[in-house]
């Protein structure tokens, strides 16, 4: 049997925009609800029509059943013909931005849920921008509650055009705008009988059209060392391959030291491997004059990984206590942990309006974005996010808390 793809996406939108109804629809219309629970619900709602049955489903979505059949609400699983999906929930209010960021940082795509007869707010643009910054560049916008505007083609076309304009400045690989009414199930999984003028995809069809994350074997090797274990008297460096491929016998360059070594073996508890790919957590023995430790990165000698003492990143701030110019702050990128000083905060921007507040700022406040230059003594091994994402995204920490995130452009 061919393996099914799976894709994680985040749903951004507030409960009043119909998020729980939407998620309920995904489960119900694709038949992904636990059969036992469906049976009970059918009994309870017997004799009523589908709309009412669905309402029961929604009500009970959050309940725990005595025989351990539970429905997860913050990470929900359902399937279409084509793929298995995981919905990562993301709340829709400003203060929960960091929750959304956490959810989004694991997702390949985002579903932005909006009320078609409400105005498009700054919040929408902020979400789209943040998503794009987080590397989520496939967006499906669902203009929900079409039933409240009588399924009007005119209203939809107008709103959709506004969406395109609003998102014009946001870097996206894929954008679809879909008219829907989650309550009646219109255009979520089943095509709506009420909108014959619309021949674009339903939400699930649009999801099926998305591209899943593909690990590119042709990327240069990046293996950030996570730890070093002593196994049977030898030192084994362990880590998860961030990009590329490593094979036994390969020459690697250990960054930032710049020293070359040869991969003597690639090990797992199940036995040695001839080679390993991105995503695999392995142990590596490297011959050569090199002592390995956490924070170092094994790289492909043909494609150097730069060490930057002065690193510029697009940073978004997530703490109520603003970032200040001159502040000492800890940077984490892959397995590196580097103390830095904030040299400058340029083009400070409100992520809601995408307007630049200050070209040369003294501080960066919660939900704002800026081009921040970070200076460190030891330097950071990084590269552009669009080249190898794992080596181009970082977090800033105060103490043990993550207060900001950034992308290396």
């Amino acid at each position: 049997m061919t393996e099914r793809e799976h894709l994680k996406f985040v749903v951004v939108g507030s409960v009043d925009h119909g998020k729980s109804t939407l998620i309920g629809r995904f489960l119900y219309d694709t038949g992904s609800l636990p059969e036992a629970q469906l049976a009970v619900l059918r009994q309870v709602s017997a004799g009523t029509d589908e709309q009412v049955e669905f309402a029961f489903v929604l009500d009970h979505l959050e309940e725990e059943r005595a025989n351990h059949i539970t429905i997860d609400t913050a990470q929900t699983f359902f399937s279409s013909d084509r793929r298995d999906y995981v919905i990562i929930d993301a709340p829709g209010h400003k203060e929960f931005l960091k929750n959304m960021i956490t959810g989004a940082s694991q997702a390949s795509a985002a579903l932005l849920l909006l009320d078609v007869h409400e105005g498009l707010q700054d919040q929408t643009r902020r979400h789209a921008y943040m998503l794009s910054l987080l590397g989520v560049r496939q967006l499906i916008v669902v203009l929900n509650k079409m039933d409240l505007v009588d399924f009007s083609e005119e209203v939809f076309t107008d709103k959709a055009a506004q969406m395109h304009e609003l998102l014009g400045k946001v870097t996206l690989d894929h954008l679809a705008v879909i008219p829907a009414a989650a309550l009646g199930g219109d255009n979520i999984v089943n095509r709506s009988g009420k909108m014959p003028w619309y021949d674009g995809p339903t939400v699930i069809e649009a999801l099926d059209l998305l591209k899943p994350d593909v690990t590119d074997e042709s990327l240069p090797l990046r293996l950030p060392v996570q730890d070093v274990y002593e196994i049977d008297g030898r030192n084994l460096a362990v880590g998860r391959i961030a990009a590329g491929k490593v094979s036994k016998g390969d020459t690697v360059v250990v960054c930032p030291k710049g020293v070359e070594g040869k991969v003597a073996s690639i090990e797992t508890f199940d036995g040695p491997l001839d080679s390993a790919l991105a995503g695999e957590s392995v142990g590596v023995m490297v011959d050569g004059e090199v002592e390995l430790s956490r924070g170092l990165t094994l790289t492909d000698p043909r494609a150097a990984l730069g060490t930057t003492e002065k690193l510029m990143a697009s940073v978004f701030w997530m703490s109520p206590d603003p970032l200040k110019r001159g502040e000492r702050i800890a940077l984490r990128l892959a397995t590196q942990e580097v103390p830095c000083v904030v040299e400058s905060i340029a083009n400070r921007m409100d992520s809601g309006s995408l307007e630049i507040i200050d070209e040369d700022a003294d501080q960066l406040a919660d939900t704002e974005v800026a081009e921040v230059t970070l200076v460190s003594d030891d330097g950071v091994n990084s590269e552009s996010f669009s080249h190898v994402p794992e080596m181009g995204r970082l977090v800033l920490m105060r103490g043990s808390d993550i207060v900001g995130g950034g992308i290396v452009p």
Partner: protein
């Protein structure tokens, strides 16, 4: 990479991170399929020798099969096994009439006592997101304070495999490497690895346990599933409904067959 391998690699990464960051780490083992899977993954992460203790909270109500399994594999795998019990409560004759109270005294308090005694600052648990509605809001690394409460709304953000990984004083961090695994994923992993598990999960006399804990509080389900394949199949029918991969592929295959026979293909 297939889904199970992806989950496995991610979990091993998290376990190694936890081991790096915490001074005094321990793993909670309830001897159930989830925490045994976690144990298995820990063995993989550390190439066979787990460098921290494995803690069993013993409520003494559990099935004898559980104790047998625990002792067999603790020995086989060379585990540093710690068993914690709330001796006082047991002596006072804790009854299981009030489920919550019983769990609280025997499980939660026993854990509290163990943490106080050994000073653990990090705990690995086999919690999964699809298990429990409330758990769904958990993160990989969740701080707990002394009273084991955590503030739902004020969770630290987790970003790109960077986690809150230092406990403040008087708190400990719980690490959940299995958070993204579903029940079915666990069983498929068990099958793939040929992992041992307590026989209570297998059907005996037409019943089996879907989850195990104290004998008194667990209800078995009707089942004839004995092998892991049968358990997985049963799960597919009860959990994700008929639309999941296998069933839909089957449907499409049937449609194709029919259309072909009719000459429409």
């Amino acid at each position: 990479m297939d889904k199970i391998s992806e989950l496995e690699n991610q979990s091993i990464y998290l376990i190694r991170e936890a081991n790096y960051h915490f001074r005094n780490l321990a793993m909670l083992w309830s001897i159930g399929k989830d925490s045994t899977t976690l144990l298995w993954l820990c063995r993989k992460a550390f190439f066979g020798k787990i460098p921290f203790p494995v803690l069993h909270i013993d409520t003494s109500y559990k099935f004898k099969e559980i104790y047998a399994f625990r002792d067999e594999y603790a020995a086989k795998w060379g585990l540093e096994l710690l068993v914690a019990r709330n001796e006082e409560a047991l002596r006072a004759g804790m009854s299981h009439e009030s489920k919550l109270e019983c769990c609280n005294a025997l499980k939660t308090n026993a854990l509290k006592q163990a943490i106080a005694k050994y000073g653990f600052d990090g705990l690995l648990l086999g919690i999964r997101r699809d298990e429990h509605g409330v758990r769904a809001k958990e993160r990989y690394f969740s701080p707990r304070d002394e009273q084991f409460k955590w503030n739902y709304e004020d969770q630290p953000p987790e970003l790109w495999d960077q986690y809150k990984s230092r406990a403040d004083e008087d708190t400990h961090i719980r690490i959940h490497p299995l958070l993204h695994w579903t029940e079915k994923d666990i069983w498929q992993y068990v099958k793939r690895e040929n992992m041992p598990f307590v026989d209570l999960y297998r059907a005996q006399d037409g019943k089996r346990y879907r989850s195990i804990g104290c004998e008194c509080c667990c209800a078995p389900i009707d089942s004839t599933a004995w092998t892991v394949d049968e358990i997985i199949e049963e799960l597919e029918m009860t959990s994700a409904g008929e639309r999941e991969g296998r069933a839909q592929d089957k449907e499409d295959a049937n449609t194709m067959q029919k259309l072909r026979a009719l000459g429409y293909m």
